[in-house]
């Protein structure tokens, strides 16, 4: 265990040194990703400005302030995924294609660990902090709401953090499984695209899918098969409590259970997929 932590810290340090050796580029990347996030925020700001009662779904409680907590949560999770996993998943596909995975297989350390963390993209962490700022700002606004104030206990804040952790585990599992498919597909150039399209579904409160046959179908698929819907929904619900006025609802607890079950299951499945992929791997180099 100690070795793993040390190796991880070395990876983190090396990546930081590497990122900071091109300082202007690093800053530019931070500015770019922050601008994207702000555009995203402004987009919803425009929508919410269209009417007083606008919410994401009738009776769901996702009005402006609650929804921006949701959005901030999505940014936090996205930033973690992009900092820690994204560059590595892409690199993993490349390792398979070039045959350089041989070198990773030879090292006396768990291969999945070794390909999962060597390169961290520190600039992506900018949105992590921006997400925290947004969540804190809107949570504060909700707590001072005149009509329907939000009250938060330390326990709730802690569970928010733990739930985000569980969500990140799910995202990691989906991503590493996707990346592992390059063993069979040879080149997985579309990895980023597929990832983008899949995760597009997790960026909204799950209530929007709970209608119609197609909607429920999507809801079921993204809750149980590729369980990305619980990733942001559970932590955001815990903090923003959209239904606090009507005394909350019971299915909250079921969602929490689903989140943790899915985190464990997907981690296990991704481990299996990874092992399976390795057993099918034939080195490409000579």
């Amino acid at each position: 265990m100690k070795t793993y932590i040390q190796v991880f810290l070395t990876f983190a340090r090396n990546s930081l040194v590497r990122d900071l050796s091109f300082r202007t580029n690093f800053l530019l990347q931070c500015v770019t990703s922050i601008s994207w996030a702000i555009m995203n925020w402004a987009f919803f700001k425009i929508i919410f400005a269209q009417g007083k009662n606008i919410a994401i779904g009738k009776g769901t409680g996702w009005t402006e302030n609650e929804f921006f907590i949701f959005l901030g949560t999505v940014w936090i999770i996205n930033a973690i995924v992009q900092t820690f996993f994204m560059p590595n998943a892409q690199e993993f596909s490349e390792l398979i294609r070039t045959g350089n995975l041989d070198f990773a297989l030879l090292k006396p350390i768990d291969t999945q660990f070794l390909v999962s963390f060597p390169r961290l993209n520190w600039a992506s962490l900018a949105n992590f902090f921006l997400g925290i700022v947004v969540v804190v700002f809107y949570a504060n606004a909700l707590m001072h709401d005149a009509v329907n104030p939000l009250s938060l206990s330390v326990f709730q804040v802690l569970s928010y953090i733990v739930f985000i952790g569980a969500g990140v585990v799910i995202m990691y599992s989906v991503m590493i499984s996707l990346a592992a498919t390059s063993v069979w597909l040879g080149r997985n150039q579309n990895l980023y695209m597929i990832w983008f399209y899949l995760t597009n579904f997790y960026r909204y409160p799950m209530e929007i899918y709970q209608r119609g046959v197609i909607g429920w179908g999507l809801w079921g698929f993204f809750s149980f098969v590729v369980p990305v819907l619980v990733v942001a929904n559970v932590p955001a619900r815990t903090l923003a409590q959209p239904l606090r006025e009507s005394g909350g609802n019971r299915w909250e607890n079921w969602l929490i259970l689903l989140l943790f079950t899915m985190a464990l299951v997907s981690l296990w499945v991704s481990r299996r997929v990874f092992r399976w992929a390795l057993s099918s791997y034939r080195s490409a180099s000579s």
């Binding site: 987009f43 009662n53 606008i54 994401i56 695209m193 409160p205 209530e207």
Partner: protein
């Protein structure tokens, strides 16, 4: 004259075939492109539900945001993907600026051909291939949401104007991005410029939401800048949101913008080539 036309025709055919190479990838790509659209439909469905004052038969949504009902909005977002298929030029600015930076532009200087003209031919060819291959996926999605086009297909006159403004949006997108790329003759790094362009495009072209949703203070920016012609204008024309004098005035302004950027691109090219110096082979 004939020799020139034959050169251009050959280049056009080469560009066509170059694009046909990755067909499978391509069609899957177009199909997938609509997935984010599905989430948007569900999101707006949920939002418009909150505007509903009383229950309607068959759950029809009656609310309006900025003059757009839910059905108008879905039709609008579909139409905008069509306009974007005309006006977006992936990789044009960066392609030109890269070829200036790494000296590839030399090949156009020593050959009796015009770089911008050739790039235009290349884009026309690529776009044509795109429309042929993307036709089925687009038709599928339009058919799926056919009920959202509550006004049906517009009359001949409006439709002709619509087609014209689509072609103009292609030209506008092309010359605008070419100009940005040519700025590389003066400043080698144009990525920050591209980023600012994208930022403006996001809010002022209308490809994310109808421009009528923008707060009133931005109205002048919409009118004064060419971005609305890259997405909003043709779609709004199709939906009958722009009629009468405004319609023809809009087309005139769009033509003027195309001319402006065409002339600007000629100017930038001639001035830029004079500044340019290439070394080595």
């Amino acid at each position: 004259m004939w020799a020139k036309a034959s050169t251009w025709w050959t280049y056009f055919r080469v560009s066509l075939e170059e694009r046909m190479v990755y067909r499978g990838d391509f069609i899957i790509g177009v199909m997938m492109r609509f997935l984010p659209f599905a989430t948007q439909v569900f999101m707006y469905w949920a939002i418009f539900e909150t505007l509903q004052a009383n229950e309607q038969p068959e759950g029809r949504l009656t609310g309006e945001i900025g003059g757009f009902t839910f059905y108008d909005l879905i039709a609008y977002l579909l139409l905008v993907t069509v306009t974007r298929a005309f006006s977006s030029m992936p990789g044009l600015t960066s392609g030109i600026s890269n070829s200036v930076r790494n000296g590839e532009v030399k090949k156009y200087l020593i050959q009796p051909i015009d770089m911008v003209g050739f790039m235009l031919i290349q884009r026309v060819a690529h776009k044509l291939v795109y429309y042929v291959m993307a036709f089925l996926p687009f038709a599928f999605w339009f058919y799926l949401f056919r009920d959202c086009f509550t006004n049906g297909i517009p009359g001949v006159e409006i439709f002709a104007v619509y087609l014209l403004s689509l072609v103009l949006s292609f030209l506008l997108g092309f010359f605008l991005e070419t100009c940005m790329g040519l700025i590389a003759f003066w400043y080698l790094e144009v990525t920050s410029l591209t980023f600012i362009y994208m930022l403006f495009n996001f809010f002022l072209s209308g490809h994310m939401f109808p421009l009528t949703w923008l707060p009133g203070e931005f109205e002048w920016a919409v009118q004064a800048l060419p971005f609305q012609y890259l997405a909003y204008f043709p779609a709004a024309v199709f939906l009958g949101k722009i009629t009468g004098a405004a319609l023809y005035w809009g087309i005139v302004v769009q033509i003027a913008w195309v001319f402006f950027f065409f002339l600007l691109s000629r100017l930038l090219w001639h001035r830029g080539v004079k500044r340019y110096s290439g070394f080595g082979g």
